[in-house]
């Protein structure tokens, strides 16, 4: 067992964290497009077979399954199948391993890279119905993000209307790379639906856009793209704050997943600083951006940035104990020793990080 896997399993070892755990980011994967056949009409099954449609392309580009950071070696199924692709695997490797009270499933399958709008909507519906049947209905500990065909706003809204009231869905997954920044008013119909169904917007890793995956152009290498994704998250948060999403929707809740939190305090400070002098250009932003973060946005522990635990604890102090929720990011292979991290935190912060913040934010 690798040191990093020990980081998560050791969490529950004697002397470790004994309180409740809510894991807000457990990834699950659709084993094959044929898995979804029971959830679509025969005509779409035929379409998929006739055209040899497979897994949407951005699943492979966002999460290349053989890359060392995408799946921990010990979490690769022995039969060579896809990691995190069955409830049995996920129970054994994650839910039971760190004894969750609740876990939120996030299924990024690259629906954003399906250009056929009706096929994308069909696949989104099928994934959501599969999540209900194969996951939510089978384990009371589970909650999930519903997926939407985000290229067509009306279809995204329709899908939220269709399944958004299912008690298992607590969030709408929106990949961080989108065809428009998330502050743009074109998204308002989607946000109307999210808010009306009392759901959280979960901004996750991945997605494809009409343009390059960074704000300033195309990365050349996988490592470059991986590390650069943080900039995309920063751009999206800046957009949503500046363009007034949180003023338009006073109850809007945004979970920022897959990207840690050490980078956040500096962004908050920067936004506050610029807002003081440029407020007139965005007059709807009538409070300091840092206050908007505190009232509306939460971040996750994963991936714990490669800092000594005492330094991460310092970042958490700047950010606020209420702002971060525990996430394993299963089955990804981020280094990080959660036990040492927790040990470095003030005692008051530990139950908040491990469960209370998520319970309050997602109303679990």
């Amino acid at each position: 067992m690798s040191v990093s896997a020990q980081g998560l399993t050791a969490l529950r070892a004697p002397g470790g964290w004994a309180g409740p755990v809510i894991d807000v980011d457990v990834h699950v994967h659709v084993p094959s497009i044929r898995t979804l056949f029971p959830y679509m009409q025969q005509g779409w099954r035929d379409f998929i077979v006739e055209r040899a449609v497979g897994t949407p392309p951005s699943f492979a580009s966002v999460y290349p399954q053989n890359a060392g950071n995408v799946v921990r070696p010990e979490w690769r199924p022995e039969n060579g199948g896809l990691a995190a692709s069955s409830l049995e695997l996920v129970r054994e490797q994650a839910l039971d391993a760190w004894a969750v009270e609740r876990a939120i499933l996030n299924c990024y399958w690259g629906i954003d890279s399906v250009r056929h709008p009706d096929l994308a909507a069909t696949i989104a519906r099928a994934v959501n119905d599969w999540l209900i049947d194969e996951w939510l209905d089978r384990d009371d500990r589970l909650r999930a993000s519903l997926v939407v065909p985000a290229h067509t706003f009306a279809d995204a809204v329709a899908e939220i209307e269709r399944v958004g009231s299912h008690p298992g869905f607590v969030q709408v997954m929106m990949p961080v790379r989108a065809m428009q920044t998330y502050g743009r008013r074109n998204w308002w119909p989607v946000y109307d639906a999210i808010v009306a169904h009392d759901l959280v917007m979960g901004m996750t890793w991945g997605g494809t856009s009409e343009g390059p995956p960074t704000p300033s152009g195309w990365p050349s290498y996988y490592a470059e793209e991986w590390a650069g994704e943080q900039g995309v998250f920063m751009s999206q948060l800046t957009s949503m704050v500046a363009e007034g999403v949180f003023q338009r929707y006073p109850t809007f809740r945004l979970a920022v997943l897959d990207i840690g939190f050490n980078w956040v305090p500096s962004l908050m400070w920067r936004l506050n600083k610029e807002w003081k002098g440029l407020r007139r250009t965005i007059p709807w932003v009538n409070e300091p951006p840092s206050q908007i973060f505190r009232d509306h946005i939460r971040f996750t522990t994963a991936p714990l940035d490669d800092a000594p635990p005492s330094e991460s604890a310092r970042f958490l102090r700047w950010l606020g104990e209420e702002m971060v929720m525990f996430a394993s990011d299963y089955p990804h292979a981020y280094p990080g020793d959660y036990r040492r991290f927790l040990d470095a935190l003030p005692e008051s912060a530990r139950p908040k990080i491990m469960a209370d913040n998520a319970r309050a934010f997602y109303r679990l």
Partner: protein, 152 residues
């Protein structure tokens, strides 16, 4: 409190400002729609002269894309970092509770009154002439004058 005659009202156009020095400190005199206000001419942030900034109207909004444009130039924008201050109260827009420019009382006096008071002050010392001291004897009875009210 002491009163300092610092300018004629005609010296400060509507929507504009001038700076005056009294006892070694510089004050900004602003004309907001015909009403005069004074601030210490020094941004509480890093000390820029506020009178070098623009007098601007408020812009407020309750929701993205909707604007309520103020009709009067009631704010001064610091020329260095764009912080906005209410000219009347000195309070900043972004942190009204804690960050403010120093506001100073200002009055407008009629020239004929002023001439009488200035004459009296030579006896009592209650009112000191401002930068207009050289012109005290030329205070025109038909003009209006701006008077700063300072602690000393």
């Amino acid at each position: 409190m002491k009163n300092y005659v610092v300018a004629r009202t005609d010296d400060v156009p509507v929507g504009g400002s001038i700076s005056v020095e009294v006892n070694g400190r510089t004050y900004g005199i602003f004309n907001v729609g015909g009403t005069f206000h004074a601030l210490l001419d020094r941004c509480p942030h890093q000390g820029a002269a506020l009178t070098r900034g623009a007098c601007i109207a408020t812009i407020e909004s309750d929701t993205p894309g909707e604007y309520r444009f103020g009709t009067s130039r009631t704010l001064i924008m610091c020329p260095w970092h764009g912080w906005e201050f209410d000219i009347e109260t000195g309070q900043s827009w972004f942190d009204a509770a804690r960050t403010r420019a120093l506001s100073v009382d200002v009055n407008v006096e009629r020239g004929e009154d002023l001439a009488a008071w200035l004459h009296e002050s030579q006896q009592t010392g209650a009112r000191l002439p401002g930068p207009y001291i050289a012109e005290v004897h030329e205070v025109h009875r038909e003009d209006d004058y701006i008077v700063l009210v300072l602690p000393r």
